[in-house]
């Protein structure tokens, strides 16, 4: 044990030394940029720190002014309140949870699969109108979700998929960012590799699954996270397309904790605990695939 500790310390020491060495070689501007970015990243971390601390604050701390970042008297009271609330609702909260899990799973798989297949077709196949299609996909990024809420409603209603899981999943499946990001990656896969696979006897789907997909895994991991976040935190489809309470999802339930009441003071504790619970899965998934996500961002040149 001691040996491992020593080794870790030694590694830390060398890392620090390397870092200091690198910093010393920077000129003034670069040093300033390093400092600025470090402060900025600490600043970016604040909301996460806040979410964690907020969930453990007792009621009087939640409403303290000026608000505090760090919890002083941590308590599980908020979680207990949330638990008791979920037990007293008409539709059990576990139903919302189940809906959320199903919807998130289907939507994530759907978004990633459609995005990747679409990106592959646009990147590696020349067909009439492919540029126009890609252009319109990019253009669709410009629309605010609110502007397409009504047309979406009309489409979902005319398809007759209100109050079903399809009603949740289908509107989310088209993911322009995903198509764009994966396409950027597939563009870099050499055509010869695809041709070699063709000569080897692979089918088009085989090329996509066995050659292209493994090569663009970082992009797919990134899109999976984005898709997961989208689907997990999405209350819109529950509000718009689900009239039956039993078909609504967890984010919708969380939003009802406070907003349906006459004042916005009650249940703040439960809401804070709920926010943390909603946030945790995204964080865990991000931490697990963080390295791939960073490499995607560095490759694609988008932030």
């Amino acid at each position: 044990m001691r040996e491992i500790n020593n080794k870790m310390l030694q590694r830390l020491y060398w890392k620090r030394k390397e870092f200091m060495h690198a910093v010393k070689r920077f000129d003034r501007t670069q040093q300033f940029i390093v400092l600025f970015l470090t402060l900025l990243s600490v600043f970016m971390l604040l909301p996460i720190v806040y979410v964690f601390n907020h969930a453990f604050k007792p009621l009087h701390e939640l409403f303290q002014f000026p608000p505090t970042f760090i919890v002083r008297n941590p308590t599980f009271q908020n979680f207990i309140e949330l638990l008791s609330l979920t037990q007293s609702t008409f539709v059990p909260a576990s139903r919302y949870m189940l809906n959320s899990i199903i919807v998130t799973f289907l939507a994530t798989v759907g978004m990633v699969a459609t995005g990747a297949i679409c990106a592959y077709a646009l990147s590696k196949h020349r067909f009439p109108g492919s540029k126009l299609i890609f252009g319109s996909i990019i253009a669709s990024l410009l629309f605010a979700p609110e502007t397409i809420a009504i047309p979406r409603y009309v489409v979902v209603q005319s398809l007759g998929i209100m109050n079903s899981y399809f009603g949740h999943v289908l509107p989310m499946i088209a993911m322009p960012v995903g198509v764009f990001l994966i396409k950027q990656f597939i563009d870099q896969v050499p055509n010869e590799m695809i041709e070699a696979a063709k000569m080897d006897g692979t089918t088009e789907f085989g090329i996509f699954m066995r050659i292209v997909t493994p090569m663009v895994m970082p992009a797919i991991a990134t899109i999976t996270i984005l898709a997961f976040q989208n689907a997990w935190g999405n209350a819109e489809t529950s509000t718009l397309f689900m009239q039956e309470d039993a078909m609504k999802t967890l984010p919708f339930y969380m939003s009802t904790l406070t907003s349906n009441l006459a004042n916005s003071v009650a249940r703040q504790g439960a809401a804070a605990a709920g926010a943390l619970i909603m946030f945790l899965p995204s964080l865990i998934i991000f931490l697990l695939s963080q390295r791939k996500v960073i490499s995607t961002m560095a490759h694609s040149g988008i932030k």
Binding site: M193, E195, K198, M199, D200, T202, R210, M215
Partner: protein, 373 residues
Amino acid sequence: MAKILFNHVYKRYGKFKELAVNDFNLEVEDQEFLVFVGSSGCGKSTTLRMLAGLEDISEGEIYIGDTIVNDVPPKDRDISMVFQNYALYPNMTVFENIAFGLRLRKVPKHEIELSVKRAARVLEIENFLERKPRELSGGQRQRVALGRAIVRTPQAFLMDEPLSNLDAKLRVHMRTELINLHKKIGVTIVYVTHDQVEAMTMGSRIVVMEKGVIQQVDKPENVYNKPANLFVANFIGNPPMNFITGRLQERNGVLEFHTNRFALRIQEQHAYQLRNDHKLVDRTVIMGIRPEHISFEEIALQTCEHSVINGVLQINEFIGSDRYYHMDIGFPKMVVARAHPRYHFDEGARAAFALDMNKALFFHKDTEKLLTD
């Protein structure tokens, strides 16, 4: 193993249907090592890709064996291809890369293992089978790409500039290895390159292409010694052949090549062809002579007294075994001569040199075709 036949093959590209390959007719013999050579954009790769099935054929037919393969997908043509950038699958190990094609063909597992190991032994990559392509050097990757091609024992190998990503030394090494491999497995190889040295050393026949048209198909020696036209004469050989424009004139029953600076006596056999077969007396022709057929030797100057000219040495290139002299003989283009390194002239010096008129070639000024042989 099979013959390959191109029958009036055309390839048109783009909006304006520009011809990339124009009336391509060729028969590739069984077990032949055929090399397509030409400058970039001459249509050699397109032709190969049409044979592979990676490009559509606009017109004409391609046969592999006895079957027309125009509409046969690449995987069913029973050929394999090696690409310039190797195109190894980065997510698979060397073993998996080589075995991939066999797996897709549902070959039994033990057979796959046997075939891969056999191919690996031939190419001496047995020790890398468990590595990923990124852990290999350029030469090793190229061998894996070759392994992937030979493991399936196809009817023919297609190679699209497979050595051009390697450094000069390794390229020479791999060149001999490819020649040995061809001898060992005796399969038809169609090889594309822009490097004439590769073409000359490897090909049992060479196809010289330009602007989508075959310029000449012949053995390397014939392509070098009897180029079919000016393009081939200029393209093959390094440094390239020297060309001098002049007039054929008859003087005292002897045919001479006249420029406004000197006259050269044409050797009798050539004179006969030019005079009687082509009837070009008093017409302008282009004479071509290779740098090695220009000599500074005393004995040559004496024996070839009717073909001695004077020039000013402008550039002196020493390449070790030889020396190349660029000489100004009063024409816009300088004449390049290859000489033994012992002949050392200073730049700017005047020197006399003899042309070996037996080796001179004459081309038609308009058609640019070879007139003599």
